[in-house]
Point group: C2
Chain length 164, copies 2
């Protein structure tokens, strides 16, 4: 029981704590956003567009940023469009591509939701750690993320990779 299939206490501690912190945080965020009438995926889409230069991105760019399937993104984008928060238009340079842009209503929605979101994250994640530790935590996680993003079996694998 103490031996988790070959992980020592330090490894276990890091793994389980990460799992639990992210789950609890994600759950809390989800709850808050639902109260505001948004899915967390929808919120992330809006935020990505908000931060994007020119306020527009292709569907693929969005899907790569979020960790969500293409079809899932299509679904949520449909809802967002129906709600008038984003607009979809065929891309000028590539007719296959769809360019998504943030509408004025979408921007307003972000401004309405962000303060509560930030307050929540601050209360759960940021407040309990002193400034210095926060920097350390960010540094460590960034290192891990960079490693994951370059690791071989990536999520963005080619479609039907030939047998060999």
């Amino acid at each position: 029981m103490t031996d988790e299939g070959g992980l020592d206490p330090a490894e276990l501690g890091a793994y389980f704590a990460l799992e639990e912190v992210s789950s609890l945080l994600a759950h809390a965020v989800e709850q808050h956003l639902r109260g505001e009438g948004l899915t967390s995926v929808q919120f992330k889409v809006l935020m990505q567009l908000f931060e994007a230069p020119g306020g527009q991105l292709r569907m693929t760019d969005l899907a790569d940023g979020l960790v969500v399937s293409r079809s899932g993104l299509t679904y949520q984008a449909g809802l967002l469009e129906k709600a008038g928060l984003i607009a979809r238009a065929p891309s000028p340079d590539d007719d296959r591509s769809t360019t998504v842009s943030l509408t004025a209503a979408g921007r307003e929605r972000i401004f309405a939701v962000l303060p509560g979101h930030v307050a929540l994250v601050r209360r759960l994640l940021l407040d309990p750690l002193p400034r210095e530790d926060l920097t350390v935590l960010g540094g460590l996680l960034t290192r891990v993320r960079d490693h994951m993003r370059t690791d071989p079996p990536r999520s963005a694998a080619p479609r039907n990779r030939p047998r060999k």
Copy 2:
């Protein structure tokens, strides 16, 4: 754009890196487990039972450990029982309560899946960090987790909390 609604770079870095690392890790784990015929929730249920003293827990105990709704747990427990990996029996001391226990087949299933799981976690999360940093990361996240678990608005809130 640099000002994320009131979060400075250090805060943003920690928040976003955490978000991304946990998402990518969860996604990779999910993929691996699906290949083994298990949901990640199912796997967590099995692991909790595996680590529990006596190898059995009540449904509520399980739901508290995982971050999942009661109804969701009921659903997954039903599947696990149908697959013969767990057994449900009325609790001896409380007739409302259901005691869940791990079957021999369930234990075997864990032994079959764990090595791959550990290898995956090691490759994605543990390997890129030197031993020392791993300890630091675990320590920081544990601190945050403890804070979250004691923070006021808990997930296990009373059912219909009276107005005041």
